[in-house]
């Protein structure tokens, strides 16, 4: 009793939950990457570092200024967003119109510098960050015990992803963004300040990564390399979903997270490569990604 395909159900549910948690971070991060790539045509390798910066901002706000988790959820993305705006204005914007490889190299370099600096200051080991007292403990769902903080992360990430999707699909700003993704010159010829739109988009994408970083701090610990461990998987998620597809990034993020969790139950040896195997298959069968538009 209480087994499915010979697997004890608590272990199965536990891995599905872990998959959903990981998937939440895949979705939030690949969403920002997809938005930035769609409009700026920049493959933002600094995305993992911006996620790490968000977690560290929360950690430093707490330890230096006594700022609590809830305030950090707002403040950390704001700080990282402003840093990203400065990066876009002073560096990235000079690279528009040249080969996208330059943007990739610049953001990759920035990621190395940021991660190196934080490793120098704080060491490679993770710093603990306690979940807020309101979200500690666990709740009995009947079929399993779920830590409240993990449930909160899944719900918060869903709200963030759906909110971002609505912003892009249903608002005027989102219409500018979608149109500029197709033909930025024409949108600017209609009188929209496209350079400003690019700056804001990069800032928003980085702020999303930082928000994910704050949410991740109590789960994964705050460490300089937390982003680079994640970013390669997130790139695979973006490729599977389809470069530039918002909905693709969100759906693929959650689905691949859960698939990865299930692999840990049924065939643990493959769990660290399953996402890349799926990516390879998708690239062979549907090179534009599951939700991408063939060009």
């Amino acid at each position: 009793m209480n087994t499915i395909f010979g697997i004890p159900t608590p272990a199965l549910y536990g891995q599905i939950l872990i998959g959903l948690i990981n998937g939440s971070f895949y979705a939030m991060l690949s969403l920002g990457l997809a938005v930035i790539f769609g409009l700026l045509r920049v493959i933002n390798f600094a995305h993992g570092a911006q996620y790490m910066l968000g977690a560290f901002a929360a950690y430093l706000l707490l330890n230096w200024l006594g700022v609590n988790y809830w305030v950090a959820l707002v403040l950390a993305p704001l700080v990282v967003g402003v840093i990203a705006v400065v990066i876009e204005r002073t560096m990235l914007s000079r690279l528009y119109g040249v080969d996208p490889l330059y943007g990739l190299l610049l953001t990759f370099g920035l990621a190395l510098i940021l991660e190196g600096a934080f490793r120098y200051w704080f060491g490679a080991a993770g710093q603990p960050y306690a979940a807020p007292s309101q979200l500690t403990g666990a709740v009995n769902l009947g079929f399993m015990f779920m830590p409240i903080y993990r449930g909160w992360v899944v719900i918060a990430s869903l709200v963030i992803c759906i909110g971002t999707w609505l912003l892009i699909e249903k608002t005027r700003l989102g219409a500018y963004l979608r149109a500029a993704t197709e033909n930025a010159t024409l949108v600017q010829a209609f009188g929209v300040n496209v350079p400003l739109l690019l700056t804001l988009t990069y800032g928003l994408g980085a702020a999303l990564a930082a928000l994910a970083g704050v949410l991740a701090a109590p789960i994964y610990q705050v460490s300089p390399l937390m982003g680079s461990n994640l970013i390669i998987i997130v790139f695979a998620v973006v490729v599977v979903g389809g470069m530039g597809s918002i909905l693709g990034a969100i759906v693929t993020g959650y689905v691949l997270g859960v698939l990865e969790g299930l692999t840990k139950v049924f065939y643990p040896e493959a769990s660290s490569i399953v996402i890349f195997v799926i990516m390879a298959i998708v690239l062979l069968v549907r090179p534009a990604g599951l939700f991408g538009r063939e060009e």
Binding site: R178, A179, E182, T185, L186, A189, F190, G191, V192
Partner: protein
């Protein structure tokens, strides 16, 4: 008639990369006028529109709207100064529906048409307002591209080959729309290969060849100049 032109172009030179494509183009459009650029393919008509709009950035010379310099403005400020652009390829966005396409360009001044007025002028667009923009027929896409700049309150519309590839009945319909716009006092710079269409709406013609203005004449002289035009245009 006011003495100063609404849109004034003097000695306009432009380059695509290293290639010098406009050679000292002069052009005047007075308020409420419809002016048509004629010329062979490659004569520089579309390039002239793109240079005025600022999409083509490498330019020298003078471009003024109501005496205000446009040449030094960044691209988005040109539209804000009051110029509406209807590109040759129409530029309907696939990721936007018809209504989003219509309301995309920001309002630049008072006096543009309301969405209701536009839907009265283009009933098909109203019927298909929730369709994806690029699912429309060619004629409907052209009407959407024109309708899009009527909302913004632009003073001058640059209209690039609106009849290209369309059926005669649709061309007729677009002609009616331009006549209606003229009646409202709209100023239009039109690039057109279709004489019969252009004759119906144009007050004046400019003739372009190899990136230069070679002639200009009032609309009523078109018939008398047909032989000369056929020679230059090779039609």
């Amino acid at each position: 008639m006011s003495s100063a032109p609404l849109l004034e172009v003097r000695g306009l030179n432009a380059w695509y990369g290293e290639s010098h494509v406009l050679h000292g183009v002069d052009l005047d459009i007075r308020e409420g006028e419809t002016v048509t650029l004629l010329g062979r393919n490659g004569a520089g008509k579309t390039t002239t529109l793109r240079a005025i709009m600022g999409i083509l950035r490498r330019r020298e010379g003078v471009i003024r709207l109501r005496g205000k310099d446009l040449l030094s403005l960044p691209l988005h400020k040109v539209a804000q100064a009051g110029i509406g652009y209807v590109p040759e390829e129409r530029g309907i966005f696939a990721s936007l529906n018809v209504s989003e396409n219509l309301t995309l360009p920001p309002t630049v001044s008072e006096g543009g048409m309301s969405v209701e007025e536009i839907y009265t002028l283009f009933p098909n667009l109203h019927e298909r307002r929730s369709s994806q923009g690029t699912k429309l027929s060619g004629g409907e896409q052209q009407m959407l591209a024109i309708a899009r700049v009527l909302r913004t309150g632009a003073k001058v519309i640059l209209l690039d080959e609106p009849t290209e590839g369309l059926a005669p009945v649709i061309i007729q319909r677009i002609g009616d729309v331009l006549v209606a716009l003229k009646k409202r006092g709209m100023t239009i710079l039109l690039v057109e290969q279709n004489f019969r269409f252009a004759k119906k709406v144009a007050d004046r013609f400019y003739l372009m060849e190899d990136g230069r203005m070679v002639n200009s004449f009032p609309g009523h002289e078109l018939d008398a100049r047909m032989d000369e035009l056929h020679e230059v245009l090779g039609v």
